[in-house]
Symmetry: C2
Subunit: 540 residues, 2 copies
């Protein structure tokens, strides 16, 4: 078979799909074989396989092309990203996510704003001296948005939800909010006339920003609740498990597409849709549907992730852009180093002060985020990924192609930063976590103490629902309820009232884990739990 002609004519999608499917299979098998290694992660494996394939194609086509098709942000944003983010919301440990919600929001929204400002201003001053072609003020702003998007996908692979639950929920939750923030910022920069920023424009931007956050979240919650309601009312599972699963998939995707259509942050929408679905709809379906959705969504997300890394790896050798760069290698290295430096500084300037702020609200010493943990949070969030690449392509190219030297350098620098942070951070994070936090118990203790402050109040209610492991952990440092209540009142009462509301209004309407009224007696509680679900199905 003549490989050169094959790769050249690869617009025909059957060929390139086959190539990608074969590579995906390779990634899974090789990723599995390398799993025991301390260093490798699946994403780095996929990046390497993508790179090698790119080199192979480049050699066989004698330097004409390195990939069967150019990076297509449409493919990325419409097909690959939704399953990843939805699955993240669907599988996230909700309790930990919401207990750290304030810290996560701080790191995600304010943190990426800080990163954005630092990278924007830094690049404005530092890149000017490099003479890389004319960049407008808008271009520097876009750079800020592009490089303030951390990579949620990598984080998921590097940190372990069970080993370091607090860090995982912090870094991951932050990543989602962060992604959303950058995309919102990016869209705002595209649309607003930012050549002369006045305080009015800044205010307008700020209002729009919060409006988008709010509406996106609400949309996701509404779609999630609607799904739960439909599944509960129609009792689809009684007739067909497949219909339930199909409806969940379709509604989740619908939330994303509607958000796209309304120019909202679809990432935020589908994330909250995932959270709400796992809280209500997931409990309304049959046991088989639960297993199928849990593993089915995870599988789709897994395939999408590997696909993205393969894609980025293969695209890294995009010869069209490197031709410009090869004329001025020094410049390109300069730009990449500057951007990398700004990413490091920007993240440090957001993580450490914000963790300090967050620690101020945590009264107990064991609740605070330690310095070593802060370093891990800083480090784990350094990775830049497919979102950055997609935004860079969107900004600096016309449907994947560019003829301008400055733009080509920006694309190659983005790819360099993405590859560098992924490979270096990806390879070093596992060892770093082991070095900085050698006792995994330590971090899980912090987690459990966070939990326990919760537990102590709601314990009588929770005893019958929570798994015994968490209970026994919280036993250790329980204080008299009223004392603790004084110390950390605000968050707790919000959570407490939410529970009340959830149990007395939301769950009867939308389903969810067996409806439990607020009766402290364990026996009665047990009775209610046993009886009510059956009454439900009979009455309704």
């Amino acid at each position: 078979m003549d490989w050169a002609t094959l790769f050249m004519k690869m617009d025909a999608s059957v060929d390139s799909i086959t190539l990608f499917v074969v590579l995906l299979c390779f990634c899974i098998v090789i990723g599995h074989l390398l799993e025991k290694s301390r260093w490798m992660t699946e994403s780095v494996t996929a990046l390497f396989i993508g790179l090698c394939t790119g080199i192979f194609i480049l050699v066989t086509t004698k330097g004409k092309t390195s990939h069967p098709f150019v990076f297509d942000e449409h493919l990325f944003f419409i097909y690959l990203l939704p399953p990843i983010i939805f699955n993240a919301g669907f599988q996230v440990k909700k309790k930990q996510f919401f207990q750290n919600f304030i810290t996560i929001s701080l790191l995600g929204a304010v943190g990426s704003l800080i990163s954005f400002v630092i990278i924007w201003l830094g690049s404005t001053f530092l890149l000017k001296n490099l003479d890389i072609g004319f960049l407008e003020i808008k271009d520097y702003l876009a750079l800020g948005a592009i490089f303030s998007a951390t990579d949620t996908v990598c984080t998921l692979q590097v940190l372990n939800q069970d080993e370091t639950p607090l860090l995982y929920s912090l870094v991951f939750g932050e990543g989602v909010v962060n992604d959303a923030t950058s995309v919102v910022l990016f869209n705002a920069i595209q649309r607003f006339d930012l050549s002369h920023i006045t305080s009015t424009v800044a205010m307008e931007l700020f209002v729009k920003f919060f409006y988008l956050f709010l509406t996106s979240t609400v949309l996701g919650i509404v779609v999630g609740l609607l799904t739960a309601y439909i599944i509960k009312k129609l009792y689809l599972g009684g007739h067909s498990t497949d219909r339930e699963v199909a409806l969940m998939i379709l509604m989740a995707y619908l939330s994303y597409m509607v958000a796209e259509l309304l120019d909202l942050s679809s990432i935020l929408t589908v994330f909250f849709c995932g959270i709400v679905m796992s809280h209500y709809a997931w409990h309304n379906v049959t046991e088989k549907s639960r297993i199928t959705t849990k593993h089915g969504f995870a599988t789709l997300s897994f395939i999408s992730e590997i696909f993205i890394f393969l894609y980025v790896g293969m695209d890294a050798l995009d010869i069209e852009k490197w031709k410009f760069v090869s004329k001025s290698p020094g410049k390109s290295i300069g730009v990449s180093s500057i951007l990398l430096l700004l990413v490091l500084v920007g993240r440090a300037a957001s993580v450490f002060p914000l963790c300090f702020l967050s620690n101020l609200t945590r009264k107990s010493q064991s609740d605070k985020i330690g310095f070593k943990q802060q370093i891990t949070v800083w480090w784990a969030g350094l990775m830049r990924g497919a979102v950055s690449v997609a935004l860079a392509y969107n900004w600096f190219t016309m449907s994947g192609h560019t003829q301008q030297a400055g733009n080509a350098i920006m694309i190659t620098s983005t790819i360099t930063v993405v590859l560098f942070t992924n490979v270096v951070c990806g390879l070093l994070t596992k060892p770093l976590v082991r070095f900085l936090l050698p006792q995994h118990k330590q971090s899980s203790n912090i987690m459990s103490s966070e939990l326990s402050s919760e537990m102590s109040l709601v314990l009588p209610v929770l005893t019958n629902r929570e798994d015994p492991k968490q209970d026994s952990m919280s036993e250790s440092d329980r204080l008299p309820p009223n004392l603790r209540m004084l110390l950390t009142r605000p968050t707790r009462s919000v959570h407490y009232y939410w529970r009340m509301f959830d149990d007395s209004f939301m769950r009867p309407v939308f389903g969810g884990r067996g409806f439990v009224p607020h009766i402290p007696s364990p026996n009665q509680n047990y009775l209610h739990e046993r009886l009510l679900p059956e009454q439900h199905t009979i009455v309704e």
Copy 2:
């Protein structure tokens, strides 16, 4: 919101994807609500919803367009068909399929050849008088191939595997072979110079035909076995359920794409890949993966099916083609009626003689396919579906558009035949089955007697593996083994030797349901079953 401009600019894919996702959700909910109706099936519901949406778009755009995009055979053959056919192979009851394998092959391959010849010759003689523009000899041949493809998808929805197992396996199995035959025929017509058919060309065609059948089947089996082997060797499930599921999905899709790439019959390939995967690979994965794959594949197939019907329904109002037709409505009705008639006659000419032939090989009276059942087989296979539409678009249009009156009439006639057969056959099959075969026990008895003839010989081996229900059924009319062996020797011994081969060579290598050696003693058998899987994991 201005609907007209929205529908006009709907090339933008976010809009049309959103529309389709909303409609799919509607189809699921409405299909569920109508489920108890005797008449409606999910496919007819989807067709109607598609039609209504088409009319709505047509009205709001003031007759400019009826659909957000033109029927795309690429979308159909690359994304929608593979999950349906793979799932069909994955879920088919293998025992029944292989016991009726000769009848299925007869009906599928020879039957569609008979249909093809009748429709080809019939249209050549009958359509000539209608003056619908110049049609070449190739066009008539193509018509034969287009209309000899029955619709597997509809059959699955109309017949019930549990109520009428024999009919289901006959009609469905035939449908798959039929689809493959038509596509192979169609490709052959496209490539061969058929303006003057000589006996050499016919012979060549025949050889090519069988070569394609064989290679396609072998490819599917090889990919299926490879998947089973990889999963068994790597023991992926021990680490990640999602990897197993991902590998199964990817390998299944790979088999289809490789077959496409090699110009084989990808439908046959992916069908046999599904069968082999469910026989070996499915037993090598974790319990959770089994549930996930079973329901996950079914869900994907379900969504694809509804999507196709929505699509065909919406496309039925393609205004570009109907404009030609509106100038000569009589001609169009004539063509549609002639084609419909030929489909009816062609199917009758293949089903009844072939069933007669098949009955000659069945010695026992209860094994024979009764006349009422033959009518049901004839009727249930009348439906023409998306494969016909896709082939017609491929032949008579240039990427969805045509400016020739004759071609436009062919497209609209195809759509008319598809809609008519689907709606009429779809609506009447359920009542017909109930009318012709009022006792479901009758048909299941025929099934069980077919099974029993099998059972009686292999019973000592099977006792520990088959579910007790089937055994008790076979109890009823069991004959002395050697007597029955004399009566139906050939098929049985093939199956017997396959079992031997499967147990002694295939299963130890490729996994599959717990490896059981041929030892009649139940105790020892039990021991082996319990011990061997563990030895496996330790040794390998």
